[in-house]
């Protein structure tokens, strides 16, 4: 098992290197002089030159590239042009908010999705089946930003039940988490339904029923337990859209996480910050997918990891 984990980690290194290189190239697509752009139109030539030296932009591109990679290895993402702090420190201070939002959304999606899928599987071809396929279709097609706005209109403006923006009170997380979570509910439910139906048709489930195991225990211990791998895959596949969705949701609700920081940094032309954040998103995505792969082995001992 340990060697398997080690091999998977090693295999991720070329991808990480490629991702870092892609981010480096993207940050240098900008036409014109980045130092001038960061310093602003009002800055003097001296200030611009100083900034250029400070950011290392006076060096040839290969040197900049090696500096960039060297910094990454030492976990140094550079200094924010806007805040003046190290990029990593600023990201660290915003990360807990995004984690809170993402976990709340994921919990909502998993609980609603799995229970919806179980009910749909047990009550096959009824209204709930139609409801679930509709919700999952709407989830894929829904513009997150619009869903967020409509929830603000309904719950913050019409009913005045929940705050429209910010993270000042504990209930502030409700609307953004619902916005983000609802997008994945349908897909998880659909996967749970089909996976569970397949398992419940197996011989060992019939055996369990025949020997008098209670119906609830058959569904949970024999059915759901064995249906977990495809469900996990569905959840893993949702994480990419969940992260993209977090950028959008945080910006709509003024939630002070890393997603909103990304948009703010794009607007304030804080390129070191944009670079660091884009990298963070990609690395998180790779790490989470790796984790899901490793979880298969835990969930289903038949999955070989040789």
């Amino acid at each position: 098992m340990l060697t398997y984990v080690g091999r998977r980690l090693l295999a991720a290194i070329p991808t990480l290197w490629g991702v870092a290189t892609a981010v480096f190239i993207m940050a240098r697509l900008l036409p014109g002089d980045p130092a001038r752009v960061i310093a602003g139109v009002t800055a003097s030539q001296d200030q611009v030159d100083h900034l250029r030296r400070q950011l290392g932009l006076d060096q040839p591109l290969p040197v900049q590239y090696l500096d960039f990679l060297g910094g990454l290895v030492r976990l140094d993402l550079g200094t924010s042009a806007h805040f003046g702090d190290p990029v990593l420190a600023e990201i660290g201070s915003r990360l807990p908010y995004t984690a809170e939002l993402a976990l709340a959304a994921l919990a909502l999606a998993v609980v609603l999705g799995i229970s919806g899928g179980v009910v749909a599987a047990l009550r096959r071809n009824t209204v709930i089946d139609v409801v679930i396929s509709t919700v999952s279709m709407l989830g894929i097609s829904m513009p997150t930003y619009w869903l967020g706005l409509m929830l603000i209109v309904l719950f913050a403006i019409q009913f005045r039940l929940l705050p429209a923006a910010g993270a000042d009170s504990p209930e502030s997380v409700v609307l953004p988490a619902v916005t983000l979570g609802l997008l994945s509910v349908g897909l998880i439910a659909r996967m749970t339904r089909s996976s569970l139906l397949e398992v419940l048709g197996q011989d060992y489930v019939r055996t369990a029923r025949a020997k008098g195991v209670s119906p609830a225990r058959v569904v949970v211990a024999h059915g759901l337990r064995n249906a977990l791998v495809p469900i996990l895959t569905a959840i893993g596949l949702q994480l990419g859209s969940l992260m993209g969705g977090a950028v959008v949701t945080e910006s709509v609700f003024g939630w002070p996480g890393v997603g909103r920081l990304l948009l703010d940094s794009i607007f304030s032309r804080d390129y070191p910050m944009v670079q660091g954040l884009v990298l963070l998103f990609a690395v998180t995505y790779i790490a989470v997918n790796l984790l899901v792969d490793l979880l298969y082995v835990v969930v289903d001992p038949r999955v070989r990891y040789g």
Binding site: P14, T15, G18, V19, A22, V23, M26, A27, R28, L29, L30, P31, M137, L138, I140, S141, M142, P143, T144, Y145, W146, L149, M150, I152, V153, I157, Q158, G240, S241, M243, G244, G245, V247, V248, S251, V252, L262, L263, I266, Y271, V274, V278, F281, A282, V283, Y285, I286
Partner: protein, 276 residues
Amino acid sequence: MAEPLWRRLLRHRSATIGLTVLAVFALAAIVGPLVIRFDPVRQDLERILLPPSLAHPLGTDNYGRDELVVLVYGARLTLGLGVLAVLIGVGVGAPLGAVSGYLGGWVDMLVQRLAEILLAFPSIVLALALVAGLGPGLRNVIIAVGVSSIPGFIRVVRASALQLRELMYVEAARALGVSSGRILLRHVLPNAAAPLIVQATIQMGVAILVAAGLGFFGLGVQPPTPEWGELLGEAHTYIFRDANLATFPGLCILLAVLAFNLTGDGLRDALDPRLG
């Protein structure tokens, strides 16, 4: 022999719904600007944020423009953005996927790593990063959204190329001394058409979501040019004065994306002979 594709498609209920919605939007995008006279720059400050009425069925926006007219004009831009972005994705992704799957070896390795790297960025984050580098505006949004759709097309075409490579007639063509380039063009790409069309239809929905998202954040098409995402972004600013304004542009985006997804599902079923 099986019945023609279009008839199989029309028997598919969700595809029929999707195609109908798409036809209405396409008609609005093509014919609308020809029959309605409209100048997006013209403001009418006495008529801003009016509620729906007989004269303005969906009310007026923050520039005093008729919301329905603005949305009809927006259809052309938003749908056009999606089409052009997907064309970039197909144009780059399909040949890469075909070469990767057919040739295999180190070419395949290289293309696969490239796709893997692009896939590590969520679409909206990749598009945002590219627009942050290239700057906002119509052209750059098309490039950004197009690039983020490339890996999907690589995957789909590569999968069919891998299957085709082993088929007898491709082997026969190779034995006859037909060049790889010609085999790719005459045999591999045409036979990947079915999954490619399904992927392109579904990717249209994603492209519209991402492009309108960039517009929503003010990084896409700039006001007063009416694009659905940009209109929704403007409506966000006025949400406490006129909640109504945010409803319709978002509904248009949702309907368009939904229609592409439903049509894509229908096409997948209609093009797959195994499902009968």
